[in-house]
Amino acid sequence: MHLIIDNGSYNIKAGFASGPLLKVQNTLTKTKDGIIHIGNEHIAHTNLHSGILFKRPYEQGHLTSWETEKAIWDYTIDQLTPQKELDPAETHLTLTEAPFQLPQLSINTDQIVFEEYGFNEYYRCPAASLVPWVDFEDNSKTAPNDFMLVIDSGYNATWIIPVLYQTVYWQGVRKLPVGGKLLNGILKELISFRHYDVLEEPILINTIKEQTCFLAQDFNKALASRDKYMCEFILPDFKTTMTGYLRDKNTVISPDTQSLKLLDERFTVPESLYHPEIIFDNNSTTANSGLVQNSPIKNLTDLVVESIMACPETARPLLLANISIVGGSAYIPNFTNRLVLEITKELPLHWFVRVRQAPKDSKLDEMSWMGGVGLTNDEIINDVSISKKEYFEHGSNWCQKQFGFKNTV
């Protein structure tokens, strides 16, 4: 049996190769009443979302806290197989991790997988390296794709990862530390200054971001005519709505309903992918520092171009024609169109930029997991995996040597 776990910093995507996929929030939460919830348990307690505290096993993209992660994994496995027993000794585990994770932390993960859970066979890799194994909609031949530039916009950061022959080309990997979490932070600052104090409402902020934010095709034009993009978000009053919702034309609301009128917040916040100075300009410490202001800032486009140029010359056109956009933050409306527009501007006229069409009914944040299914259906999985026996023979450092990243400096 093949179990595939895409261990994201926001959601764990877990499931057997035969399906179905289960999504569990990768966090412990503590609500106002002092109860600690695991994974998705807190979602139902909508009346307690205000002032909720998170404890995530990930710290700045590194899986540091196994005392937290262990409980969430146990919960996930329970949800996944509520009826039948999961026998780790009969199970092959495919696990993803963030690129460039601190080796010691990856070693800790390996030790937990083999010594605590006792999985029989194991393969660990960066999530992006699984994406080429997805059967893309427009594919003339079946997976795997040999060349693919994966743009993985997750909760913690946006990674640009060239994958050549299903292995990560480490010299070309680039990171922009703008992910869902940071966008939440910027939105939180803006709303707290202009409207209401929402510092203690992380879940509400996330909801507002998911429902209202979008990437403008032309930022300056959108800003000039921002009244056109006005929308009204009804805040939770804990009688008619617990989570808040977006008002459409037909909604009748009582006169004492509190709402947010959002204008430029909607596209200024995601714009920090293309103008990262937004992160630093609205804060007196960073705005006042000459050092920050004088240093050239690279945006997503620059990093994509840099990443392509760091790859072997013959692979460059192939990578550009095989861009794959994955990750939860890629759900921001217009993400793909804007990216294509910006990359095309930067590159020579005759270079062909193509974003691969994801399969029908597939979700962007589940692509790596689907790729994992593709990989386990291929024979090659037997050659790259490490068995429990081998682990106990060679040790955890050897494991990291097989699965870990290659230094680039």
């Binding site: 505290l53 146990d74 605590e116 940071l182 917040e265 007196s284 680039t408």
Partner: protein, 230 residues
């Protein structure tokens, strides 16, 4: 770590670093701190009239990295400016990514999740403690990322990892020093956005001289002076 024998003809310009007792003497850093620590190490062996040779490859590599000349492009040495920049940037990023204003909560000592799977739960009394000494250590570590970074011995890995974080913003002068050919680095890749700190529209004025924020009109500027200017 690669340790090789020295071939007969050594090319002083070759990029591979060879270690042997004789090379080690030249590879030893000239900084006083290292000289001191080496002296104290050598103390014992000197009594025998022989100089102690340092065969610790890890230590040697650190020495190599620390004295490496940035012009040669071999060492990831950073300018103090770049370090300061990284400190400011990472502080701002950490501030923004904090969820909720209060600190993280600590797990209570007795916190445990009881799995319904017997195979995962065979030691339910000590569910959090782990099966083997190694996993016991990992599951009760309660350490933060900085501690793990401090412990990591391999500087090259650390530089690979941390280098990723600041790829999007680098001090321009350091960038220039790094490239051997002194070509002008594009200082401004595109015009920066100047957004009013009050209403968010494009600002055509210069920064506030005390706090550096932009404002777009007299009205916003007055509001800014009242509310946001520190």
């Amino acid at each position: 770590m690669l340790v090789e024998e020295i071939p007969k003809s050594t090319n002083p310009n070759s990029s591979t670093v060879y270690f042997s007792s004789s090379v080690n003497l030249t590879a030893r850093p000239s900084s006083s701190r290292h000289a001191q620590s080496n002296e104290s190490n050598d103390g014992a062996s000197n009594k025998k009239g022989r100089q102690k040779v340092n065969y610790n490859v890890n230590q040697l590599m650190h020495a190599q990295i620390q004295v490496a000349d940035p012009q040669a492009g071999s060492g990831p040495l950073k300018s103090t400016q770049q370090l300061q920049l990284e400190r400011i940037v990472s502080k701002r990023l950490v501030d923004l990514t904090r969820e909720g204003s209060s600190a993280l909560f600590e797990l209570p000592k007795n916190f445990a999740y009881n799995s319904i799977h017997a195979s995962l739960d065979k030691n339910s009394k000590s569910a959090r403690l782990g099966n083997t000494p190694t996993t016991k250590r990992i599951l009760s570590a309660r350490r933060n990322l900085n501690l793990y970074f401090e412990e990591e011995r391999n500087l090259i890995s650390i530089n690979s990892i941390l280098g990723q974080n600041y790829q999007f913003i680098t001090d321009s002068e350091w960038e220039q020093a790094k490239s051997k050919v002194r070509k002008p680095v594009a200082r401004r890749l595109r015009p920066r956005l100047k957004l009013c700190c009050i209403c968010g529209s494009n600002s055509s004025y210069s920064r506030c001289h005390t706090c550096g924020l932009f404002s777009c009109s007299v009205r916003c500027n007055n509001l800014h002076n009242e509310l946001r200017c520190v």
